[in-house]
Symmetry: C4
Subunit: 226 residues, 4 copies
């Protein structure tokens, strides 16, 4: 199951001994993202790939206040989102994290709900995506080496049927292998990286670019601008 796409590797697997450290780093990111208004209330969830075969994720427990997350608020889950270690239950969106982990080289997956990603995910839902092109900041995305780049961020329709949504995420990622993230309409952003630092940087870069596009598109100055 973990090798569905052929891209999954044993790489990124983490020894149990380091799990606590990873939870500490994710908890720090969770509190930072809350302070930066990217994941308020109980929104947002975060995971790290602990092992590839079989797939094992460290992921935020469900329903916790993201301003006060601690290293104890993470669980180890198996490929079916069953709890291997830790208390509480995994986020309902664990299936989306598993789908991303299976279909990319991600070592870390981060999900945010910012004002600008919410607004743009709604505004562009009818064309199922958003293109961002021409900005130097795009070079902050792994593998992008020039501002002459068009980053396509697909938008999937939000749904409470998370397993079905996870299937759509898997299809999307198998179809388009160069993505750095996707949006769920009226919901938020998923992005990832080969490790925690790269995933966190992708959130910063994409949230910046979405704010730039958002301020431009929601400005009433679009007509004279384009």
């Amino acid at each position: 199951m973990a090798s569905k796409t052929g891209r999954a590797k044993k790489a990124k697997a983490e020894s149990p001994a380091s799990t606590r450290l990873l939870a500490t780093r994710l908890a720090t990111i969770a509190r930072e993202f809350h302070a930066r208004r990217w994941a308020l209330g109980t929104s947002g969830n975060y995971s790290v790939v602990l092992q590839r075969d079989p797939l094992q994720l460290l992921i935020t427990s469900s329903g916790l206040d993201k301003s006060a997350l601690s290293p104890n608020d993470f669980l180890d889950i198996d490929p079916d989102a069953g709890v291997i270690r830790g208390k509480g239950k995994p986020s309902a969106e664990a299936f989306l994290h598993l789908a991303v982990a299976r279909n990319t080289h991600a070592g870390c997956i981060l999900h945010t709900h910012s004002v600008w990603n919410t607004l743009l995910s709604e505004r562009h839902a009818n064309i199922s995506g958003l293109a961002i092109a021409g900005y130097e900041m795009l070079k902050g995305l792994q593998g992008v080496t020039t501002h002459v780049h068009r980053e396509w961020i697909p938008i999937l329709e939000n749904s409470q049927d998370v397993p079905a949504l996870a299937e759509k995420v898997s299809s999307l990622l198998q179809r388009e292998s160069s993505l750095h993230g996707f949006l769920l309409s009226g919901h938020g952003l998923y992005t990832w990286g080969t490790d925690i630092a790269e995933a966190r940087r992708h959130v910063e870069i994409l949230e910046f670019l979405l704010e730039v596009v958002g301020r431009r598109e929601f400005s009433g100055a679009v007509a004279s601008f384009d």
Copy 2:
């Protein structure tokens, strides 16, 4: 008087011994909300239900700088807003807190004056409310389990006759039992929760959603958007 709606319960009553702790937690929230620009100057006020029958609230004293609130800046009041314990006088808006406490299951009531809640409370005053629908973030409101939800936030006309306004709040809450908050036009937001953590989360969620709606509606991009 405390059992007007039949929903009031002895539950939430707090022992005097824990009152100091509650005041400490509310003071922390007050300073946090000031820092987040939700209650500047002397605006904003905060209460906890100490006892249900007869009703007793712990509430902010009137006229204090919310950036420097301490646990000593709270009073115990009776159902007529008379001071039971503490110095200073209760906020003029104590009657609104009492009305919310009587007519909901609230254990904590929080009132904020943000830029976006002010702008939207004014813009939608003529239709006496604002509907927010379709956002995943709505699930941060107690009892909401899907983004396919329409949250109605009523807007009452602001008034300096607080007892009369409190009567309108009571009528509103008896008429519409599924509300999570309401706005006073040109004034601010009232929301609540069964405990302090839930009330604080409701502020975060509603302020986020009001910012999303506010940025969309005050963008000049509404026409092309809808």
Copy 3:
């Protein structure tokens, strides 16, 4: 000279012993206002009335970085802006502070350059002022007891001839005795209070209200709104 308007009083005079404490409090406010983006770079200046007859002010030295102001960065000046104590030279705008001190009950005078006060001071310069009405937050201004209040904030044309500008400020304050502040076009806000706490609160309240009005007026949604 200090009793020009008849409103000046010996009141507010501070003993030399307390001057250091006042400088410490103003320096704290200066750093706070910098952090809140109300006075970046070397912009902004702050004073306290030390003595009424003859008039003596404690005021920021000229040209200092407001993110790092210390209690040593203040001077005592006489009614002609001559230095009584301290090193450095007073801000060129000392004459404006003196004009406010002479013509109001101010014990503390604060001047900020925010994005929103700059934008509105420019937009409304042609009608020489800005009215703000109907907001509960107006009650944070000294003497205002209801949201049914129209606060007029005059706008004077900016000038580098500060003594001449100070004359215009004096005339304005003698003509309109109920003001809480005024704007200089493309420049910033002057406000004051009977003490430091009231003046600081007036900055918070006016900056909040200017942001509300600014977001509304610069939204492209004005037509459908009014």
Copy 4:
């Protein structure tokens, strides 16, 4: 090479002993600018002129997370961007820093990627620059003594051919000697000062002014405003 324009001076040269201190100050600025959202992810780079003849710069290493920069993350480079001391490789944009150092009196050069400088660098790219006039805040720029000043900020087309872009920067700075900064389209702002404090102040002033202009131009209220 370092004396191309005749304006370069031995002045500003720093003894090796003080290099560590300069790196510490630049690292502090880097973390501050990240926190202020002026240089997210790995964007932004910063340099100090260590020596004029031959030219020697202390500059940020390439590709580092700007939220966690330390004094070890800087290199000494020669006039061809070769590393004299330190590990890692210099930013690709080192050639732009060298071009600014050669053609101005700069002792420190700072480069930021903010939302507003990105938006305006794109919007005004077709006329190759942006004029800002009439604001008191302009006086925060070195040598400007009145708000009756028109600051021209040229915009160069962004390019990944940095040496060629550096040639254009040199030509620009030789042609227009009174500039305080320039923009690269869709990329960001370069500004400088005779020392670190002045360069940092120029970033604050220019970012403030770009926000003012940006909020006005992207407001949908332009027509009624002008």
